[in-house]
């Protein structure tokens, strides 16, 4: 009989205990990977930002607008291929204000700059022929032909139970009133890290109806010919407006996204602390179980040693037993987290990309489980291996 099969027999002897311990490790590792996933997802939201796009905002903060006239001046900077407009609308669902989703007023160039990130999967048939900007997907025709048309993400459509062609209402907060929009297209992301929970509509419509034609822009998105010149171009753009009514701050889209993540402040740190507490708690549970399991079998170890099993073999057996429970439980928990949560919808109402748990996090989790197994098995294993046969056989417990 090999040592391994002996370990398995021991594991199966008290099935309930083995199961309970295994399951508590499973639960802990599920949690560990879920927390890791949230941190991964936060990091991911930085990666969504591209290095070849620049974002220009008002130097004071995102809340202040810039004039429309900046568009032509920015577009004239050498190295800038095209410039898109983006304005946060901040409307709410009139039926339930807590049912948050993001809306942005954009211009058609916006869809072209991001054509590698998301695109239409469904669109209304064109009603009338309109002049389309060169290079824009022809399925945008119905959207382009209607002033209050909008494009909605696939996930948001499902969440709100909307249909293509339906008129939906949004209550304006910054630009008050009831804003009806007709859904003329549904987009889906082409990258895993891009969410599908945003509504886009014509900036022109917002400008005419909400801003009385004042032409305020929250963000300019700059598409560059050569990403390597990003820093130079950002400096040129900001220098152009430094003495204007609205000074600007230009950074890569990646830095812009990182700014949002840094706004979460200490929360990621808090999650890390919780993750550590979870790991420590399972360490205790597993160690306690192993100590109990070994104490019960003291006499048996005496018998094994009498039969000629060496101290090192006994030591290995006990450590192995602990490791099998924790690695088994850990692997189940980590894989469960990856399988279940990646499908789930934790993304802060579209602000964060869909949840991803990297294999790296899963592997770290399992490694931690193995370590917990080794540590929790060490003390009882040491005790068992040091046991003198006479003591073991004499001991009544």
């Amino acid at each position: 009989m090999s040592t391994l099969s002996l370990v398995f027999v021991n594991l199966l002897r008290n099935k309930r205990r083995t199961f309970l311990t295994l399951f508590s490790v499973t639960v802990a590792l599920f949690l560990f990977c879920a927390l890791g996933g949230v941190l991964d997802t936060l990091q991911d939201s930085i990666k969504v930002g591209s290095e070849s796009h620049l974002v220009t905002r008002n130097a004071i903060s995102l809340v202040f607008p810039m004039p429309l006239s900046y568009r032509e001046r920015i577009a004239a900077v050498p190295g800038v291929k095209r410039v898109a407009l983006q304005q946060w609308f901040g409307g709410t669902d009139p039926n339930n204000p807590h049912n948050f989703f993001a809306q942005f007023a954009v211009d058609p160039v916006f869809f072209q700059i991001y054509e590698n990130d998301f695109g239409l999967v469904d669109a209304s048939p064109p009603q009338a022929r309109v002049a389309m900007p060169p290079g824009l997907d022809s399925r945008f025709q119905a959207f382009m032909a209607e002033q209050n048309a909008c494009i909605v993400g696939r996930k948001l459509m499902e969440k709100m139970h909307w249909r293509l062609g339906q008129t939906v209402h949004v209550s304006g907060t910054i630009w008050p009133g009831d804003w009806p929009f007709v859904i003329r297209g549904v987009y889906a992301s082409k990258k895993k890290s891009i969410g599908e929970e945003v509504m886009y509509f014509h900036w022109k419509y917002l400008n005419e109806r909400g801003m009385a034609g004042q032409g305020q822009i929250g963000l300019y998105v700059l598409d560059l010919d050569n990403p390597e010149r990003a820093a130079d171009i950002a400096r040129t753009v900001d220098a152009m407006f430094v003495n204007s009514s609205a000074a600007t701050h230009t950074e890569t889209e990646k830095a812009f996204q990182a700014g949002f993540v840094s706004m979460y402040g200490n929360l990621p740190f808090v999650l890390r602390v919780i993750g550590l507490a979870v790991v420590f708690a399972i360490l205790l549970i597993a160690a306690n179980t192993m100590v109990m399991a070994i104490r019960e079998r003291t006499r048996e170890f005496g018998v094994l040693k009498t039969l000629g099993f060496q101290n090192s073999t006994v030591f290995r057996m006990v450590v192995l037993e602990a490791a099998i429970i924790t690695v088994g439980g850990g692997a189940i928990g980590a894989l469960l987290a990856k399988g279940l949560l990646e499908r789930g919808g934790f993304n802060m109402g579209g602000f964060l990309p869909p949840m991803t748990i990297y294999w790296q996090t899963v592997i770290i989790g399992i490694a931690i489980a193995a370590l917990v197994g080794a540590v929790s098995g060490l003390i009882p294993a040491w005790q068992a291996s040091r046991l003198r046969i006479v003591d073991a056989l004499r001991r009544v417990d």
């Binding site: 309930r16 205990r17 309970l20 311990t21 399951f23 508590s24 490790v25 639960v27 802990a28 599920f30 949690l31 879920a34 927390l35 130097a59 004071i60 903060s61 995102l62 809340v63 202040f64 901040g90 709410t92 204000p97 807590h98 948050f100 209550s171 907060t173 910054i174 008050p176 009133g177 003495n243 009514s245 000074a247 701050h249 990182a258 700014g259 993540v261 840094s262 706004m263 979460y264 402040g265 200490n266 929360l267 808090v270 919780i274 507490a277 979870v278 420590f280 708690a281 399972i282 205790l284 549970i285 160690a287 306690n288 179980t289 100590v291 109990m292 019960e296 802060m348 602000f351 417990d397």
Partner: protein, 389 residues
């Protein structure tokens, strides 16, 4: 007849290592539970304390935060003259028309920058906010480029010491003081004279909110009705404390949800740990239990006794958890409140209620973890038990 409590206590104490590891497992869960409650409570309190129940705040109709609001100077003057508004000792109405913008500022000690609320106020309006007191330096002089900074963010952002300079648009402002605000979100803001900040930020004739002290807080409903019906104003009124409580709702709910999610999962693990320990206790004491039966104790008494033991064990854990959680009370942290799009610094706040909730939570874990082992003890048959042990 019940088995004496001291039997359980002695049993728990006889196995100190096993008791301690199980209890600490439960304790860690309770600690995280209390910590999550303290985080949510701290944030909630910071915002709720910002508002006073005797003040009313007016925003533009449809606006859900100060940032999305805008009220013209004419409307402010109409509100100022309303008879329901209280009057200060100097005979002027207690009204504060605030200009609120967010300014992106670099943090200290952490990479990146975050948004800080900048509030332009009228210096006489400080009477509306009695909690606001200077802790360092002096108040800003009206009409000058001076600002004061809430003490909570003064340490978290660059250029916030007294004597430092802050750039807003093309104007440079000098920091002349720090102020406390009773733990409220005001402590995370920069305050200056609205009459100076307005032109500096190109917001000359528009304010974001108007806060008024009510002559009689009970008359709020009538006041609200009248102002909201006035077509010249286009405003909505809220009681100030309710407004700020509302501003905290999203993040508070997210923290509570995540906290409950984490602790429930952890609790499952801790319950399993407790179960293991209790099963082992039952198993080790097979003969003892049989003896109890022989002495005439009923199965129910035995079962109750083991449940009590399990709950006792868990309560030790709960107490450890409370003790471990206590040091986080008062630790300051900060995050962005996406409802107001600005940074709010606040302190973890452990309430007696949270500690009690933690202990109850521990007791529930004890009940769940002890039930099946206790049932097993109660169901033992005498003959087998005496022979096996």
């Amino acid at each position: 007849m019940a088995i004496p409590l001291s039997y359980n206590i002695r049993n728990v104490m006889r196995r100190p290592v096993s008791t301690l590891t199980t209890a600490v497992g439960v304790g860690l869960t309770v600690m995280i539970f209390i910590g999550a409650l303290a985080l949510a409570e701290g944030f909630h309190t910071a915002l709720v304390q910002t508002g006073s129940p005797s003040n009313a705040i007016l925003l533009r109709k449809g606006a859900d935060s100060e940032l999305s609001s805008g009220i013209g100077r004419d409307a402010v003057n109409i509100i100022r003259a309303h008879p329901a508004v209280a009057v200060g000792p100097d005979g002027r109405p207690l009204v504060s028309a605030d200009l609120v913008v967010v300014n992106s500022m670099p943090r200290i000690g952490q990479p990146g920058s975050s948004n800080v609320n900048v509030r332009g106020v009228d210096i006489t309006s400080l009477a509306l906010r009695p909690a606001v007191k200077l802790t360092e330096g002096r108040a800003f002089t009206p009409g000058t480029d001076e600002v004061i900074i809430g003490q909570r963010i003064a340490k978290r952002f660059a250029n916030c010491r007294v004597g430092d300079h802050i750039q807003l648009q093309k104007r440079t402002f000098t920091v002349v003081g720090h102020f406390a605000g009773g733990g409220s979100a005001f402590e995370s803001e920069i305050w200056g004279d609205a009459a100076v900040l307005g032109p500096a930020l190109d917001r000359d004739n528009v304010f974001q909110s108007v806060t008024v002290r009510m002559r009689d807080p009970k008359s709020f409903d009538a006041f609200k009705k009248e102002l909201e019906a006035d077509p010249r104003l286009q405003v909505q009124a809220k009681r100030e404390d309710l407004f700020y409580a509302d501003q905290s709702s999203m993040l508070t709910n997210v923290i509570r949800f995540i906290g409950v999610f984490i602790t429930i999962i952890m609790a499952v693990g801790a319950v399993f740990g407790a179960m293991n320990t209790m099963y082992a206790a039952v198993q080790q004491r097979t003969r003892e239990i049989a003896t109890l039966f022989v002495l005439g104790f009923s199965p129910l008494a035995v079962m109750t006794s083991f449940m009590v033991e399990s709950v006792f064990l868990a309560l030790i854990g709960g107490a450890i958890g409370c003790l471990m959680a206590l040091p986080i009370n008062g630790i300051a942290t900060s995050t962005t409140n996406f409802q107001s799009f600005s940074e709010v610094a606040f302190a973890f706040r452990i309430t007696p209620g949270a500690l009690v909730a933690g202990l109850i939570f521990a007791a529930v874990m004890g009940v769940l973890g002890g039930f099946f082992p206790a049932l097993r003890a109660a169901r033992q048959t005498l003959a087998v038990s005496l022979r096996e042990g």
